[in-house]
Amino acid sequence: MAVFTPAAPVVASPGLAPEKAPPLAEVANLTVAFPSPDSRMSAVVREVGFSLAPHESLALVGESGSGKTQTALAMLGLTRPPGRVMAGSVRIGGQEIVGASESTLRRIRGSQAAMIFQSPRTALNPLKTVGDHLSRVYRRHSGLDKRRAQEQALAMLERVGMTAPERVLRAYPHQLSGGMAQRVMIGMMLACNPCLLIADEPTTGLDVTIQSQIFALIRDIQAETGLALILITHDLGVVAENCDRIAVMQRGRLVELAPTAALFAQARHPYTLRLLASILRPDQPPQPIDLDTPVVDEVPIENAGHAWRAISVDAWKALDATRPEMIEVAPGHFVLCHPEPPVEAQP
């Protein structure tokens, strides 16, 4: 456990060709902070960077509180005060989001990038019918009149696979099941005709069968419209099926970014390894969980042959202050490394 040697020799390959198509979304050095109880700013997202090609699916995985949702919200300029984007850049379709005016943001939200949320039932206004929700989007984004908007709303409900669209159109959110509500949210998103969909744990709290239906729907839509997807989840099984690349986040930092196959086969970062180890496989006996040793973090160290050491949380904090960087260990496979050895190493 104490020492980890990467399987492949590390090559920083600056000669690697960049993506052919211009990226659809680019996030660089994004840092989002919220005031802590003592009213100083404390970062929940630190220097996160990745890019997304058109039609690509990227998964953001990580434990609760690792900054996945805040990264997504910041991408749409939706960071809720008193939180702030402290530094960095987000470009969607070439347009800078960070620091953009409210009207620019409004043009981008929905029509360029849209988001669906964790609890679809509370993401719908309880006083408005499904028809109100959908036709409002059509009227805002396509400038349709009331009747045409209603017709489009009905068509959209059919498109997202609703069985009784006429009835659903008149229903209020509290009369929908979670799966139906998520379909309505997807419909509202689609009505804006965006290029990028950010799905924040879209199936948490739904039945497993409904969950696969929702993902099937998203995959269909992607095949149909070429929608790029950022999927936030902590379910690696879902990721394996649906995403091209995986970005792993821990404590606000991106710790590993790799194509799906590469990550499952050759994960480098200890946190990713722990995440992978937590997947239960029916064909393998569950791994015994060691309850005796205290939970510690392991960090990669840039020099010393990329050894990884288990360190305490305090040491991790000190180390984090040394500004770790993403190193490319294989083509398209990046791992967070610390430039200096840890101050204090513990077994």
């Binding site: 409004r106 939200r109 929905g110 949320f117 509370t122 993401a123 509202m188």
Partner: protein
């Protein structure tokens, strides 16, 4: 279908409560250890006089008989006779009700029209200086003794600055009241085009309405603020923002209506304040409504009048709460379609 059931159930509940209220007033007067006959007879009455009054009131009869008589009377609209005016209590109360309604309506308007926007404003600017000031004002206004605040207003506006009319009644002595249409002097004066009476009625309303309005404003501010904060932090507001709707549209289209529903649920509390505060304010301003009538009855041991007053207020309150619940169920689909 379900809405009809809900309304029927709510109506039935109100009827049960109403019967309960009548019983409660009966028990309040006959069964509590106090002796209504001696209250009615006054402190200096002889024992014979007291006994005569007790007989006249039927207090010598067994309680069930008293209860039946009482219920029969109430259901016929007989609230007894006032010893002060010699009139039936029901007639006294009915003739004074419009004055009370006028005062209450204006106060409610002041409290709501100032209180709700203040609360919403504070919520939208959460954590700002405005928010802090509004909250401090809420706390102060909630602690104001209403009767004292009325006196302070009279002292300042009438005695010191001389800009308010004498705090007695609804109109100056020389001004004849407008023809009774609604009983609300301001409305009647407007309908009959009597500008002098309208202005004078408004001037007389100003101070009592200010006192009562300020006293009932706090709950409005408090609830409007917290309801608005809840709604602005809700998922559907975030979702609306993420779809590119403007902040203004989100506030007007999504947030406000939901926040106002929250307000409706506490409207009952506010109305309770208002009905209770009426007695104090009408007493201070000699406002000829049912509250002032009740005060006169209290000081004159006018037994039937007090009882009639308490019963009337409770009946009004039950109906107001019923109306609020019905309005609530019509606005909120979660109840309408349950």
């Amino acid at each position: 279908m379900t809405l009809r059931w809900y309304l029927l159930r709510r109506l039935g509940l109100a009827a049960v409560t109403l019967v309960g209220v009548i019983f409660a007033v009966f028990f309040m007067t006959r069964v509590l250890p106090g002796d209504p006959a001696s209250v009615k007879a006054g402190a200096y009455a002889t024992e014979e006089a007291r006994a005569a009054i007790a007989r006249e009131m039927g207090l010598d009869k067994p309680v069930p008989v008293q209860l039946t008589t009482y219920l029969g009377n109430i259901l016929q609209g007989d609230f007894g006779t006032s010893t002060r005016s010699g009139q039936p209590v029901r007639q006294d109360l009915l003739s004074r009700l419009p004055a009370t309604v006028e005062l209450a309506l204006f106060s409610l308007m002041l409290a709501a029209l100032v209180g709700i926007p203040l609360g919403v404003w504070a919520a939208v600017r959460q954590g700002s200086r405005v928010d802090a000031l509004v909250q401090q004002w809420t706390i102060l206004a909630a602690a104001l003794p209403l009767f004292w605040f009325g006196l302070v207003l009279i002292y300042l506006f009438y005695h010191v600055w001389g800009i308010a009319p004498p705090p007695v009644g609804r109109l100056d002595l020389g001004i004849p009241p407008p023809p009774a249409i609604t009983g609300l002097y301001t409305v009647d004066a407007l309908l009959s085009g009597n500008w002098a009476a309208f202005r004078n009625a408004l001037a007389h309303l100003a101070l009592p309405v200010l006192a009562l309005g300020v006293a009932t404003m706090s709950p409005f501010i408090k609830v409007a603020r917290s309801a608005m904060l809840d709604v602005m932090a809700s998922d559907y507001v975030l979702a609306a923002r993420s779809l590119g709707f403007s902040e203004r549209e989100v506030i007007w289209h999504d947030a406000l209506k939901n926040a106002l529903i929250g307000l409706l649920t506490v409207a009952g509390i506010v109305l309770g304040y208002l009905l209770a505060g009426n007695v104090l304010v009408e007493t201070i301003f000699a406002w000829p409504g049912i509250g002032f009538y009740a005060w006169n009855a209290l000081t004159g041991s006018d037994y039937d009048a007090i009882q009639g007053f308490v019963l009337t207020i409770a009946i009004i309150y039950v109906f107001l709460n019923l109306a609020i619940d019905v309005a609530y169920s019509l606005i909120d689909p979660r109840i309408r379609l349950r």
